[in-house]
């Protein structure tokens, strides 16, 4: 692992999650410098496998999704479908030899919501442990 490697994670989050406002987004990007690329989406169901795959292919060592709590999607089932798509992506990247943990999804809980800033920090930590993505090296 090269010493000057800086992990980069792409975080797609539903705009309705706690800490998902524009000001918070600026604060998170400032805090984690270039390591966090944040993409607010109108609903996590909007997410397609292609978004995660493209992010992994172009710039990210890991791609994560943060959705609303189960059962409280404004579009009814968007977050459950996001979970299914994520599994498809995980199978795909594992089949080409990438670690499955490079993609992940966190569903917020309505009782104890976790701030997006904390989640982003956790994503960066877990990618730091896995190491740089071999896809980006080439």
């Amino acid at each position: 692992m090269s010493l000057d490697w800086v992990p980069v994670v792409a975080v797609f989050y539903c705009k309705n999650v706690p800490g998902g406002g524009e000001e918070e987004r600026h604060a998170i990007e400032k805090r984690y410098k270039g390591s966090a690329r944040l993409y607010p989406i109108p609903c996590s169901g909007r997410l397609d496998a292609i978004h995660l795959l493209k992010a992994l292919e172009e710039f990210a060592d890991g791609a994560y999704v943060v959705t609303c709590p189960h059962g409280s999607c404004r579009y009814f089932e968007g977050n459950s479908w996001a979970a299914k798509r994520l599994e498809t992506v995980r199978r795909l990247i594992e089949s080409i030899g990438l670690e499955g943990a490079r993609v992940g999804m966190v569903a917020e809980s309505s009782e104890e919501p976790i701030d997006l800033s904390i989640l982003t920090g956790e994503f960066i930590n877990s990618i730091s442990k896995i190491g740089p993505s071999p896809v980006l090296k080439s």
Partner: protein
């Protein structure tokens, strides 16, 4: 009659995918596999052409969609939704709304007037300029050649002051001081937004645009070195503090106190014009009067970027301009001074509305950045990377985008002047009688409601 003024525009493509108002949320799960899916019936082939811009993570289905909602309504399982894009909603602020920003982008890209379709869906009235309506009585009389055709409408205005009356000498010829004016072909001047750090590339592009439009670019004395030499006569250096006046310019802007007079600033200098900058604060009308009496012939009144007074966000620049204009008229010295206003000029309609309130011309500032795809996201102020890499904008592209925007605004000015039946922008100044103001209408219509006349009580 001078030649007809035309702004030559040509399309200047976006460097980045614009953020669109709404996004499509479409999922496959639960799909009935209809024989002919609504997605296949989209006349714009949005789904067939779908692609992703990985640099910006923008899905092409959002940018290509024309919002006809056919697919949303047609899917029997209701698997397709449209939703406001969070990035769109986060742009700008209450005044520089996402709608205003995206319309400026469109005009800078195409040089054309944005058309929003039949009817006006917005609120009846709002604060500031939104509470005034211009008289469009002449719109029923389309001219034979059209206002963009052979019909002549002059948008030119003069910068500088004229004497109240002509004096004649013994020989019957006009005597007295020579009247000096700067003529610009449209009542719009460009201005560098001083609160932001602007790259030399952009300054250079703006200067070229000012030259092409035949107007001025007000620019910091330090920044102006970035402008090409040939554009010098079209620059208005902002001399804050004791900065030496650069060579080759026709007009400078200064923040001198109104107590000093214009001649002491020039101190036997040359024929340069001086534009005095005053903040739009409470009591601005008195300060403008004092400055005009002290001999300043061009006065720039700077309002906040949100079109309000700098010291009182509750007061709008519309009322400030009216007070200044009326103050000068009452003192009988309106023609001895040119009033240019800045701040909050965000839409084409703000130009004629400022003129009707009593300004001679306006400065356009933040809109010049928005024309370059700025999202007014404020990230640059926080040292975060700019989503549209503003520093890398090439000068020729910058010039083209600004000319396009001002060209579109100029055409809209012509439309409004044509509809008002005003053929000269100088005649528009202070024509408040040709506009309606919500507050005044509200008062005159409803003030008496609920008031009881003496002796008219019902027993």
């Amino acid at each position: 009659m001078p030649a007809k003024y035309l702004v030559h525009t040509s399309p200047a493509a976006n460097r980045f995918e614009p953020i669109t108002k709404s996004g499509i949320i479409a999922w496959e799960e639960g799909c009935l596999k209809c024989a002919v899916c609504v997605k296949k019936r989209c006349v714009y082939k949005v789904y067939e052409k779908r692609g992703l811009n990985p640099r910006q993570m923008i899905d092409s289905i959002d940018n290509l969609c024309m919002n006809c909602l056919r697919c949303v309504q047609g899917c029997p399982r209701e698997l397709i939704h449209k939703s406001i894009s969070p990035e769109y909603a986060a742009m700008g602020d209450d005044y520089w709304s996402p709608d205003i920003i995206s319309k400026i982008w469109y005009q800078a890209q195409t040089g054309k007037i944005p058309v929003s379709g039949a009817g006006y869906p917005g609120p009846f009235s709002g604060p500031g300029f939104d509470s005034m309506w211009t008289d469009m009585s002449e719109i029923v009389r389309p001219t034979r050649d059209g206002i963009h055709g052979r019909e002549y409408i002059s948008t030119a205005v003069d910068l500088g002051g004229t004497e109240g009356a002509l004096c004649f000498g013994e020989d019957g010829l006009v005597s007295g001081p020579e009247i000096r004016l700067l003529d610009i072909p449209l009542p719009i001047l460009l201005r560098m937004p001083v609160s932001r750090k602007i790259s030399p590339n952009i300054i250079s592009g703006w200067a070229v645009a000012a030259k092409r439009l035949g107007t001025f670019l007000a620019v910091g004395a330090e920044e102006m070195v970035a402008a090409p030499e040939s554009c010098r006569p079209f620059l208005m250096p902002i001399l804050d503090g004791e900065v030496a006046c650069p060579e080759g310019v026709r007009v400078v802007e200064s923040t001198f106190s109104a107590e000093k007079d214009a001649n002491s600033f020039k101190s036997g200098n040359d024929a340069r014009f001086v534009c005095l900058r005053l903040p739009m604060n409470t009591g601005i009308e008195e300060r403008v009067l004092a400055a005009a009496r002290a001999g300043f012939s061009i006065i720039h009144i700077e309002a906040s970027p949100n079109g309000s007074f700098l010291d009182d966000p509750g007061k709008t620049m519309k009322d400030g301009i009216r007070a200044v204009h009326l103050g000068l008229v009452e003192a009988g010295i309106r023609d001895s001074v040119t009033i240019i206003v800045s701040g909050g000029i965000a839409m084409a309609e703000h130009v004629p509305k400022s003129l009707i309130c009593g300004a001679d011309a306006v400065f356009v500032d933040l809109a010049l950045l928005v024309a370059l795809e700025c999202r007014l996201c404020g990230r640059c102020d926080m040292d975060l990377p700019c989503p549209v890499e503003m520093d890398k904008a090439p000068p020729p592209w910058v010039a083209k985008r600004v000319v396009n925007l001002i060209g579109a605004w100029h055409n809209q000015l012509l439309e409004i002047m044509g509809a008002m039946g005003i053929r000269d922008a100088r005649r528009m100044r202070g024509e408040a009688g040709r506009a309606m103001f919500f507050e005044e209408l509200d008062k005159s219509t409803f003030q008496d409601l609920g008031r009881r006349e003496e002796g008219c009580e019902i027993e």
